[in-house]
């Protein structure tokens, strides 16, 4: 359901096709960014670090949503692609290559590896493809651990904080601007890709591959493109993660990371860019909220806290299940319904 304000008449196709067709939307977005840009001035490093983690998660989730939600290609290996980007960017950075080039280089390596593991997607679909990407996850984890001369192996790989023109982004507040910039670019890229010819081809493949082929979509080429672009963006997320944490080890890019990205796009809304953002925020914040709650309960009722702490993972799982039952189309749909409610208020139609 897409609703615009009454009286919004387009005179050109380009305007109708605009990302933000109304002035109200543009103003809201400008205000949102103004607040976001001001955040480092009045928030402490804890909240800033959460914001940074959310932004990196947004890139990972948006990129997976492009592959899984838009193109219909299941992936359980996204965490490993993030890892490839992280190691790629870290190695390049350690060789003295400037930050942005290293970041792009990490993304490029991830894209190549992603496309290699995307090759089986011509023959495999659904759960079969999921298992084949799971194999990618296992193989890449093995490489991270055993290619010691390149990745540091079990000892991990230290990386320096990003430095541009001699200015070091070594605090949460400073690096926030950098991560925000890259995240906005990545989100814009995905949003626009969905509106282009390849994007429509992705959707056609997701909806029914045979029909797509019948109307002239080259399945293999477009599936590979989806894997390539998705892995590239995942690699960018990895590169940012590596430069942010300044120390990467194989454990950071485990199966758990892949699953958490999947959870983000399912909770947020499959195939929706906005949904990926909501999902990334939700999944990153939920453990923090549960932690805050259990810590605060510990201060008020220590006995109760002792019972609740072990239940934390269970509560996390329960939240996911309840979400899937009551809002299977994710937070993106909830957002649309909320907007519609206010637009139609007080009438229900």
């Amino acid at each position: 359901m897409s609703m615009h304000k009454c009286g919004l008449f387009y005179t050109t196709y380009a305007r109708e096709d605009g990302l933000f067709p109304s002035k109200f939307q543009k103003t809201c977005l400008a205000l949102f960014f103004a607040v976001l840009l001001a955040c480092p001035q009045f928030l402490d490093s804890y909240v800033m670090s959460i914001l940074n983690l959310i932004l990196i998660a947004v890139i990972g989730a948006v990129s997976l949503n492009l592959l899984t939600g838009v193109c219909g290609q299941m992936s359980l290996g996204h965490g490993a692609f993030v890892g490839v980007g992280a190691y790629g960017a870290a190695v390049l950075s350690n060789l003295g290559i400037p930050f942005f080039l290293a970041l792009l280089g990490g993304g490029a390596v991830a894209a190549m590896i992603g496309m290699v593991f995307g090759i089986p997607s011509l023959r495999l679909k659904g759960i079969y493809l999921a298992i084949s990407t799971l194999a990618a996850q296992l193989i890449l984890e093995y490489v991270f651990l055993h290619a010691g001369s390149l990745t540091g192996g079990a000892n991990g790989l230290p990386v320096d904080a990003p430095e541009i023109m001699g200015y070091s982004f070594d605090t949460d507040s400073k690096i926030f601007y950098l991560i925000l910039l890259v995240t906005v670019l990545c989100v814009l890229v995905v949003t626009n890709v969905i509106r282009t010819r390849p994007g429509r081809a992705f959707v056609a493949i997701r909806d029914y591959h045979q029909s797509a082929e019948n109307v002239g979509v080259n399945l293999f080429a477009f599936k590979l493109q989806a894997f390539g672009l998705s892995s590239f963006l995942a690699g960018i997320a990895g590169g940012l993660w590596a430069h942010y944490t300044m120390y990467i080890t194989p454990e950071q890019f485990s199966m758990g990371l892949s699953i958490s990205y999947l959870a983000m796009i399912i909770i947020g809304g499959m195939g929706s860019v906005l949904g990926s953002i909501f999902g990334a925020i939700f999944i990153t914040l939920l453990p923090e909220m549960l932690n805050l709650l259990t810590t605060s309960l510990g201060g008020i009722a220590p006995d109760l806290s002792a019972i609740i702490v072990p239940m934390k993972e269970g509560v996390f799982g329960l939240m996911l299940v309840l979400f899937l039952i009551f809002e299977p189309e994710g937070l993106a749909r909830k957002w649309r319904l909320t907007k519609a409610y206010w637009k139609l208020f007080p009438f229900a139609y």
Binding site: D44, S45, Y46, V47, M48, S49, I50, L53, Y142, L145, G153, A154, N155, G156, P158, D170, D172, T245, M246, Y247, I248, T249, P250, E251, Q252, G256, T284, P287, E288, N291, L292, L293, T294, T295, S296, L297, G298, G299, I300, V309, P310, K312, E313
Partner: protein, 385 residues
């Protein structure tokens, strides 16, 4: 629903407003994640010592306030927890696993926060790479070397003892293997094989069948207690006669619950004493726990907090207690005796290995028994390897 929301908000506000003037210390624990079975008793040990210290004068009259966060063994959550700690103004931190300790190495160095973790990876003991990282037990490689030394000394036959390694193929499992292999060769062991058994394995028969063919006298295991129990039970089933040497996380009081009598006759390595062992510090632990036996991890957590607080006391004696002053004080610590609960601890500005002494324990009739403390020479070339 509204009531629940109001309660939640109230709880959050209460949590933010409970600030005090104590020395704040972050406690990063795994209470709900994959290592929670050992993470929880370790954290209990830390909390018990800090509670005892606060009841007994604190740091020159000032209490230590622990801020505990359960990060469920997730690096991202560990990072957020660390930022929460630094925003609260901590002067030191008690960490936990390898992944999170490594991920925080550069942050703690930049923020000058000394960290005592339970990750004993050798590279974390090298101040050149991890200047603010400390541990209360020697590194995995040193532990392994000490265990091998003990086995070699107790070997009476004329031929060279045959040794095999079983470990999970992950950073934690594989990190000490090259160092141990090198030392084993030096000691005159014959290395006959190595196998990988996953931490979540429920069967190790295929791996043990190949080991059975090479007839090892000793088998090193570096996993967790459940995976070691699987290995021991399968070895017993296959009629293997080898003796197992298990690393610090591969065996504890639960080994008998999981492996039964298959654990009998094998050895384990520990960084602290066993509950009830006759050392001065055990009196405090027995009082605090009302004579309820605790796992060896509890004792190690207790010691870790004790050493950290000793560093804080030393820093206080020299002036202000800050992360930097605690680090500087710790680096002057020489042969600090944690009341017998662990071997004496010394740190140096260029060497953060607490000691090179490891407690050997034997598994006999359902109980862990202290055998001896094996001590190695503090060799420079072993630092970080």
């Amino acid at each position: 629903m509204k009531k629940l929301l109001v309660l939640t908000v109230l709880a959050l506000v209460a949590s933010i407003s409970t600030a005090s003037a104590a020395y704040k210390v972050g406690l990063l624990s795994d209470l709900t994640g994959p290592t929670s079975s050992v993470g929880a008793p370790y954290a209990d040990g830390i909390k018990a010592y800090v509670a005892w210290l606060n009841d007994n004068g604190g740091i020159a009259g000032e209490p230590v306030e622990l801020i505990q966060v359960d990060y469920a063994y997730n690096v991202q959550q560990a990072l957020a927890a660390y930022k929460r700690f630094t925003s609260s103004g901590i002067v030191a931190m008690q960490g936990w696993g390898t992944g999170d300790t490594e991920a925080l190495v550069k942050f703690v160095a930049k923020d000058h926060i000394p960290v005592f973790s339970a990750s004993y990876s050798a590279h974390l003991m090298d101040p050149a790479k991890a200047p603010y990282n400390f541990t209360a037990a020697p590194d995995y490689s040193t532990q392994g070397r000490a265990g091998l030394k003990y086995l070699r000394e107790s070997w009476k036959e004329a031929r060279a003892p045959k040794l095999a390694f079983v470990f999970p193929d992950n950073p934690y499992g594989s990190v000490p293997i090259p160092a141990m292999k090198e030392f084993a060769t030096e000691l005159g062991f014959e290395i006959v094989g190595q196998e990988n058994v996953d931490l979540k394995a429920i069967d190790a028969t295929p791996q043990l069948l190949s080991l059975k063919k090479v007839e090892p006298d000793f088998v090193w295991t570096g996993g967790t207690t459940p995976s070691t129990a699987v290995i021991m039970k399968d070895a017993q089933k296959l009629g293997m006669t080898c003796t197992f040497l298990t690393n610090i996380w591969s065996s504890d009081e639960n080994i008998f619950k999981l492996a039964g009598d298959a654990a009998n006759g094998h050895f384990g390595l520990q960084g602290g004493v066993i509950y009830g062992q006759d050392v001065p510090g055990m009196k405090i632990i027995r009082e605090l726990t009302k004579d309820q036996p605790q796992m060896t991890h509890y004792v190690r957590g207790f010691v870790s907090a004790m050493v950290m607080c000793e560093g804080m006391k030393m820093a206080k004696a020299g002036g202000e207690v800050t992360g930097e002053s605690i680090k500087a004080a710790l680096e002057t610590m020489r042969d600090f005796d944690p009341q017998g609960l662990a071997p004496a601890i010394s740190y140096f500005a260029d060497d953060h290995r607490p000691n090179l002494s490891v407690n050997i324990t034997a598994f006999t009739d359902g109980k862990l028994e202290f055998v001896k403390t094996e001590t190695l020479e503090r060799k420079k070339e072993w630092l970080g390897h």
